[in-house]
Symmetry: C2
Subunit: 129 residues, 2 copies
């Protein structure tokens, strides 16, 4: 399903969480899609099942998947209400990253073009709904 970088410094379960979030946000995984079982994915990635379980628990806590005993784990439906606390955290992160880029000397026009290209490339799986 995807690759891991075990020498990344970043905890394995966080890498799993991030990968799934990326696939969900980019529309590769769609609502009610089934994801591999804890034991299967652990075997595929040759890591311990507990590590996957921790990742799935975190993904469920963050609202990206839901799990049903005996059935498996599945992609959640997007929320209809915005979590403003989380949104503001993301905004602050974006803000400080942009400031750091500007401090490093990136051109204002280059930065604008980069941000425009992100907005343009946003499809997010909405087109197939």
């Amino acid at each position: 399903m995807f690759q891991l970088d075990l020498k990344n410094g970043k905890p394995i379960y966080e890498q799993v969480v991030d990968k799934f979030k990326e696939l969900i946000i980019n529309g590769v995984l769609k609502p009610d899609d089934k994801i591999p079982s804890v034991r299967d994915l652990a075997q595929q990635l040759t890591i311990n099942p507990n590590t996957i379980q921790k990742a799935y628990r975190e993904l469920e806590y963050q609202g990206y998947i839901y799990s049903v005993q005996g059935l498996g784990s599945f992609i959640s439906h997007p929320k209809t209400t915005i979590d403003h606390v989380k949104a503001n955290q993301l905004k602050e992160q974006i803000s400080s990253d942009i400031f750091e880029l500007l401090y490093m000397g990136i051109g204002t026009q280059e930065l604008k073009d980069f941000l425009s290209s992100i907005l343009t490339s946003w499809k997010g799986g909405k087109e197939n709904d």
Copy 2:
């Protein structure tokens, strides 16, 4: 000089690093400004000097400060060349954060306005050079 959140989950030395980076990037601290000694800042924040030392070592490694034995630690002059590896890492982080905001349901126009306001507010201490 600033406040710490000891119950943040984030390591203390990383919080110190981030705070200094913020002050430097926003132009509050200017090149060759002296920052508190390892022992002084540790006393101010009531934490261990080794934690501050680790933060300063990291800041020096990242190029934000320079230290001179017997003299103290000071704000570095901005680099004249862009670190493209670091710039690309920042771009990827910005990109995924923006996608996450869009996935959460933030309006495209609201996002554009937010990004514009960041660019507008960029002064970064260049005006007093």
